[in-house]
Amino acid sequence: MNPILIGAYWRERLSSPVRMVLAFAIVGLNILTSAFTGSPVPDAFSAVYLTLVLGGGAIGRDVSSGAIHLILVRPVRRSEYVLNRWLAVFLTTSLVVIVQGAIILLLLLAGGRGVPFDMIALNLSEQILIIVGLSAVLIFLSSLVGGNGDVALFVVGFLMGSVISLIGSATQKTWLADIGHEITRFLIPRLELTGGVESLTALAVPLASWGFSVTLCLALAILVLNRREFSYASTG
């Protein structure tokens, strides 16, 4: 863990007005929804939006701007850079989700409503697992394209997976629907905890699958960055 890299990433994100407005809008909407409906847990998909807003372009922006040149000539290994970008993205987003959960909890307590602590804890865990997984996916995509192109790739990939899945369902071609599902599940690695976990054994396979997706994305990102060359030189 390199606190210098992580700290600089946090500050860069905080200094972006667009990201801050979007993040506040998502969190504000979740809190308002909970306040009005009394729902103790926000929509799980809001973790996806938050990760996209706070984690988009984590590597690609450094590559596009050329700032990565000055980082990589320092004693920072490329793998270290990738892993610290991932850590920075998921720690930032997780922190926001935890604060959001705490505010919702306080609102429920203040309103005198019953608070299902176990449900809140499971939902929070589920959201953090989504954030950790999606951060790894975004880091991989960001190693491939410059700027915020990772977010665009994610959206295109997710839409493509959903459309394939829909076509598969509509035409009753299970294999096609499965391909679509696999694409979307790869893009948003998640673990269903709120549906009830029967046993640890039942959780082992999805947990291994989730862990495999995360590890694969990070390994691919490191591989891409290790093979990448950085130069301002004209190559004719």
Binding site: E12, S65, G66, A67, L72, P75, V76, R77, Y232, G236
Partner: protein
């Protein structure tokens, strides 16, 4: 030997279609200031990219202190100022230097002091360091970039067009900093199109063209440079009703040649040239042009000196 050693370095792009470096061999001794000059597309920046580990050589060998450029021990003692400087514009100048001090894995306890000292070194100490980088002018950015390259007193400093966009005072400051760095023993590789600057600062100059080292010249940095100033008059000096020109009209100036309306003087420095012009104008010489003759590197570069690259 320690220092920078490059042997038969070749770098191609686009699957070998573009050969940016073609068998470059070069040795830069520790503490040497080495200039790299050549036309655009000669391979200067590619050479620097390979030395910094940003590019992988296609073939050949690169050693810095006997180690690969990718070695973390090498990176710890490396400073780099790129040609196209992109800084993290959301930081202040001070934050930026502290950030790079941290990335260089230098002791945290020295961070604030090192950043303050670096800002002072490049003339950004008067509050400029606490302003957001996005408010900086081109020259200030270049100064900050230079401070970043020099923070932590690296043993190897790579500078790619370091004075691009700098005002004259910045250029003077830059020269002083490079001389100071050389005096403390830093090995400096300087890519520049400004031949006069290279001539003033470097111990040796490498001419690169078409991805090859065409020649390596010793330029004896710091030696007093005598330049030739050509003065053109509206009429020939003989036709003027003025006293004949003395051999040494003012301090630091010597008459070299007089041919009709054109007179050549050897001048020690810019101040001597200014004194000469004042002298001539005060004595009613109708000066219509004063052109500095090209320097030695320029003559070498353009092929007008024996031993120059073809």
């Amino acid at each position: 030997m320690a220092g920078i050693e490059v042997q038969n370095l070749t770098k191609t792009f686009r699957g070998g279609m573009v050969k940016a470096l073609d068998g470059v061999s070069l040795a830069v001794a520790p503490g040497e200031v080495c200039g790299v000059i050549g036309p655009n597309g000669a391979g200067k920046t590619t050479l620097m990219g390979c030395l910094l580990g940003l590019l992988s050589p296609t073939s050949g060998d690169l050693r810095i202190d006997g180690l690969s450029p990718d070695d973390m021990a090498v990176r710890t003692v490396t400073g780099y100022l790129p040609e196209r400087l992109t800084l993290d514009r959301w930081m202040t100048g001070r934050d930026f230097l502290e950030y790079h001090h941290g990335l260089a894995r230098l002791p945290a306890i020295e961070r604030r002091g090192a950043a303050a000292s670096a800002l002072d070194q490049v003339g950004l100490a008067n509050g400029a360091g606490d302003k957001s980088i996005r408010t900086y002018s081109r020259g200030m950015l270049q100064r900050l970039g230079l401070a970043q390259a020099l923070i932590g007193r690296p043993r190897y400093v790579y500078l790619d067009e370091p004075t691009s966009g700098m005002d004259p005072s910045g250029v003077v400051l830059f020269r002083k900093l490079i001389r100071d760095e050389a005096a403390r023993g830093a090995t400096i590789l300087l890519n520049s199109h400004q031949l006069e600057q290279v001539e003033r600062l470097c111990d040796r100059v490498v001419f690169v063209r078409g991805g090859r080292v065409e020649s390596i010249a010793t330029v004896d940095a710091g030696a007093t440079m005598v330049r030739v100033l050509r003065i053109r008059l509206a009429r020939s000096a003989e036709a003027l009703q003025t006293e004949p020109l003395p051999l040494t009209p003012v301090d630091g100036v010597q008459l070299v040649n007089q041919d009709g309306a054109e007179i050549q003087f050897a001048v020690a420095d810019d101040a001597a040239a200014a004194r000469l012009l004042r002298y001539l104008v005060e004595r009613n010489y109708p000066v219509i042009e004063a052109v500095p003759d090209e320097g030695r590197l320029e003559r070498l570069f353009t092929g007008h000196e024996p031993g120059a690259p073809a």
